[in-house]
Each structure stands twice: as C-alpha cells, then as structure tokens.
C-alpha cells in the first residue's frame, strides 16, 4: 500500500473516532455496551465468579445476595456467571451469520451488478424467492434436516439474510460501476475482478459495515429465538436464549430475574448495534 493510501486510511480512521465522540451520550453508551459485550465474549469464563454449571437446588430462584448479584436460576446456578459465559455463543453465533451472509451478499451483488443483463436478472429472481423465507422458518427447517445445534441454524440464517444485504449492496455497486473512474480503469485494460476487488468493494465497505452492524442485531434475536425453541444451543450451556427458555417457568411463578437478566443482555446488545448501524448508515449517506 502506498504512503498516500496509508495516510488516507489513517485519516479516515481518526475521522471515524472523532465522529464517534460527536455522537452524543446515546452513541457513546451504545459503543460502550458493544465493547463490554465483546470483552465478555472473550474473557467471560475467566471473570465469572462461580461455576456456571454447578448449582444447588435449594438455591432455586433465590434473589440477589452475596456472591450472586443476579440471584440463582431454577437449578440453583449463579445467574451472573451463566450470563457471562453464555455470551460466547450469543455473540459468536450472530457474528458468523453476519460474516457469511455479507460475504455472500457482497460477491453476489458486485458480480451481478458488474455483469448485468441475464445474470443480473437470474440472481435477482433467485434472491426474490429467498425473500419468501423468513429467517426463523429457514432455521427451523434446517435444524429439522441437519440436526439441532448452532451450525445448521447459523448457515440457514446466513442464507436467509443474504438477499436483504445483497439488494442494498447491489444498488451501491451499480452506482459505483456507473462512476467515471471505473470506465477509465476499464479503458486502461484493468481486468474486471481487479476493478471489483481493488476499487468497487473498498468503496462500498462503509455500507457493508453498516449492513453488518444492523444485521448483527437481527441475527442475535433470531439465533436466541432458535435456542429458546430448544433447536439451537442445547442446555446446559448458558446461551442467553437457552437461559430464557429454562427460566420461563420461574418467571411464570413470579421469579423473573433469571430470565430477565438474559433478556436484558440481548436487549442491550441489540439496541446498541441497531443504533450504531443507524449511525453508520447515516454516515455513509452523508459522505456519498
């Protein structure tokens, strides 16, 4: 990478940091929540105060107390520890969904926007069909076919989300393609794949990031739902969706804290990602 390009990247990065600072208390709070969530994902098991799998039934649904700020769940296990450890699957699952679907969406969108014509029509029609499958439905179907667990659900959700991201990216790719510098490169004899990978895709990266952030929230909700339905992560692993399912009966009996704690984590992370995603989208629109 040339010095000029590196300097440009550096300037863009610092501009991004500055923008974050200017977003006000809500933006800052969202960023903080996300950072905490990421840290917990990495270090969760290390900072959990108690063993998340060990519980005494005599502690079932007892409220907050010394050593257990969030109380105990139905099986007498420490809720806080379970929440901290469960962050792994709750965060990594959506992460993979987003990575897979955006990779596929970017490739499909850029290719179809570049080639145009029949290829574009076919790809668009195929994606339109995919729209008829709500993510959850495809995930349930996938777990029925391929067995329970995160793998089937993750891939199914990635497939279900691809058309949404692809549609947005295709529009952006079409706009890029019509810009003059692309024609200039074509005339110089630069091969199509090089133009796409070295110029078009880097220019839509802000949009890709914005989409990724927004989709992360949806993926988290859908994956937690699948785990809630006992089709995803299996107990006793404290995935947040699993925790809600396990402690639902407790909530009905009047002890909602265990289920609510997991629910609150999901809520906080999803809302933070959605706020961040909105800001990133606005940023992209403003700089266009």
């Amino acid at each position: 990478m040339s010095t000029a390009a590196a300097a440009l990247q550096l300037r863009r990065a610092s501009a991004a940091w500055k923008a974050l600072g200017e977003t006000g208390p809500i933006g800052l709070a969202s960023a903080m929540v996300i950072v905490i969530a990421v840290l917990v994902t990495i270090f969760g098991p290390l900072i959990a105060p108690s063993d998340p799998y060990l519980g005494q039934l005599s502690n079932s649904y007892i409220g907050p107390g010394p050593g257990a700020p969030l109380g105990y769940d139905g099986a007498g296990r420490d809720v806080l520890s379970r929440v901290l450890v469960g962050a792994r699957t709750s965060m990594l699952g959506p992460f993979f969904v987003v990575v897979l679907s955006l990779a596929a969406a970017t490739l499909l969108a850029v290719w179809s926007a570049w080639v145009g014509g029949n290829v574009d029509s076919v790809v668009s029609s195929l994606l339109n069909v995919l729209f008829a499958f709500p993510g959850i439905l495809l995930a349930i179907l996938a777990t029925a076919v391929f067995g329970k667990g995160l793998q089937a659900a993750t891939i199914a959700l990635a497939i279900a989300y691809t058309p949404y991201a692809a549609r947005v990216l295709r529009g952006a790719a079409l706009r890029e393609r019509s810009l003059l510098y692309v024609s200039a490169l074509e005339v110089q004899g630069v091969p199509a794949w090089a133009i796409c990978f070295r110029h078009i895709i880097p220019n839509v990266v802000p949009l890709i990031l914005a989409q990724a952030t927004t989709l992360f929230g949806y993926a988290m909700v859908d994956l937690a739902a699948i785990s809630f339905l006992s089709l995803g992560v299996q107990p006793p692993f404290p995935d947040w969706g699993v925790m809600i399912s396990e402690n639902l009966s407790g909530a009905v009996q009047g002890f909602p804290l265990a289920a609510l704690s997991a629910g609150l984590c999901i809520f906080a992370v999803v809302i933070s990602f959605s706020i961040l995603g909105q800001r990133l989208h606005e940023n992209y629109e403003a700089r266009r």
Partner: protein, 318 residues
C-alpha cells in the same frame, strides 16, 4: 386500468414461481438430510419392515426424484400432506386443528400493529415536539425487544405482578381466547410495531415536506382535509408496503410466542415436530407458512396497485 392488470398478473406469476421454488426446496430437503429418506422420515426410529414398506409406497421412493416431487406437490394441492410419524394421523388434519389458534393470534397481533404502529407513527409525524420524541423512544425500545424477551417482561409485569392477564393457555370461546391471547399478541406485535411506526412517521414527515402540499396550502385547503387528502393518501403507499411485509413475517415469529405462552398453534407444533424429527409435519407446516406469506404479499400488491396510479410494469418500489 390495463397497466394495473398487467402489473397484477406479472406479480402473480412471480409469486407463483416463488411458491414453486420454495416447495421444491422444502421437498428436496428430505434428500439433503444425512441418511436415506426412510431414516429421515422415520426420524431415526427403528420401524418394523411392513411400516417401512408403507412408507416407501406412500412416498413413492422407488420413483425418480422429480416424479416424487410432482406427486408430493399435487397431493399437497389436494390437501394431502403425508402422515405424522409420531401421531399416526394425516398431517393436513393435524394442521387444520391447530391453524385456527395461530390464525387468531396472528390476526390479533396484526390488528395491534396496524392500529398502534400506524397510529403512533401518525402521531409522531404530525405533531412535532415531545410527542414525537416519545414516539421515537418507544419505537427504539420496542424494536429491540424480541418476542421472547417481551414475553418475559409481559408475564412478569402483567400476569404475575398485576394479575391482569393469564400467562399460559388458550382459553375457551371467543372472548376467553381474546383474553388469553392478549399478552401473546402484544409480545408478537412489539418489534414489528416499532418498524411500522418508524416508517409511518418517516413517510408522513416526508410527504408533508413535498411541494404539492405547499400548493394545497397556498390554495387555502383546511388542515384536516390537507392531511387526509394530500399527506396521508400519499404516505399510505410506503406504509402499506411495510405493514404487509411485517404481517407476513409474523407467521414465523408466532412459533416463539406460542411456545412461550403455551399456546397450541401451528408454530409450536412446527417446533415440536422439528424437535421430535417428525419430518412430514415439518414439511407440511413449512409449505403452509410459505403459502400464507406469498398470499399476504399478493394482497399487499393488490392494495398497492389500487392506491398508487403510477405503478409501471416493474415490481413495486420497495
């Protein structure tokens, strides 16, 4: 008028094609699963040889793949969706028994979304100031509430805490069902309501700023008529689209709410069938859900073509 008819026919064909491909995928998943079809259909259970023979005959497993698909599809169109391996009954009968409960729930949630989603959006769009801010905040919060989290909150507050609503079960008779379905419907509607409210507010705001509204103001059209004829009528286009799409996707999310509140509907049945590996049931319900989704989209398209006289031969603007 001719243009509208052509548009409608074209959309109908596209949706039929979607249905065809979706059904192909649903059917084909039988072969995607690890193991041979018999193993999948039996859900890993060991069956006596004559039961296997019945399965082979019923599913025409000796025929080529496409023939099987064709037979399955035509059977489905006649209402024959196979047999449940766990309950030994026709899948279509089992679906029919539970469809009513899901339909009631989805309808209830749809009404909530339309009334409160559009209503709140209108309130925020037409009255700036603190009402608008309140609407934005409420929308943001409920948008992040997935149905099962909302369920917990609702149960904790309204069922256990205040005792206003029951937390589980369906209830008997119409009024009792409505009573039981209230919390589930709210949980189901919560996140979709937020999206509808947001789009409504944005469309109303946008329409208000349009030049043709200035023209109407300059001619002294009174405010109520102005809002009705020039703002709402025009904003109805994107609002209808988003409401329709949201309601169509309710069907899948109903599964979660039914599970959380112990309702015996199609969604809960789909999940338990997936859990117990009752493949024919999973296929049957998936097909029904996709069909409903497609039909709702078709209705949205019809409404759209009635509202907007400008539509051309392409698909509707999203």
């Amino acid at each position: 008028m001719r243009v509208q008819l052509l548009f409608f026919v074209r959309r109908l064909l596209m949706l039929a094609a979607t249905l065809l491909v979706a059904s192909f995928v649903i059917f084909g998943s039988l072969y995607l699963a690890p193991g041979n079809p018999i193993a999948v259909l039996s859900g890993g259970r060991s069956l006596p040889p004559d039961a296997i023979k019945i399965l082979e005959h019923r599913y025409h497993l000796d025929e080529p793949f496409l023939t099987q698909y064709w037979i399955w599809l035509t059977n489905a169109m006649h209402g024959d969706l196979g047999i449940s391996i766990t309950l030994r009954e026709d899948v279509s009968i089992l679906i029919a028994q539970r469809a009513g409960s899901t339909a009631a729930l989805v309808l209830y949630a749809a009404i909530l979304i339309m009334v409160f989603g559009v209503g709140l959006g209108l309130l925020g769009g037409l009255r700036p100031g603190w009402i608008d801010t309140g609407v934005i905040v409420t929308s943001a919060i409920s948008a992040a509430l997935p149905a099962f989290v909302a369920a917990i909150v609702l149960i904790a507050v309204f069922s256990v805490g205040l005792g206003w609503f029951p937390s589980l079960g369906s209830g008997e008779g119409v009024l009792d069902t409505i009573y039981h379905d209230t919390l589930p419907a709210i949980a189901l509607a919560a996140s979709s309501l937020a999206i509808v409210a947001r789009v409504t507010r944005a469309s109303v705001r946008e329409e208000f700023g349009r030049e043709h509204v200035q023209t109407a103001i300059s001619r002294g059209i009174p405010y109520p008529a102005l809002v009705r004829r020039h703002v709402l009528r025009n904003a109805a286009i994107p609002i209808t689209t988003v409401t329709g799409v949201t309601i169509a996707s309710l069907i899948a999310s109903a599964a979660i709410v039914e599970r959380a509140f112990g309702l015996n509907g199609l969604g809960a049945y789909l999940v338990s069938a997936a859990n117990s590996k009752d493949f024919a049931v999973v296929q049957g319900i998936s097909l029904v859900l996709v069909l409903v989704f497609v039909v709702v989209n078709l209705i949205v398209d019809v409404l759209y073509s009635l509202i907007d006289p400008r539509i051309s031969l392409g698909s509707r603007a999203q």
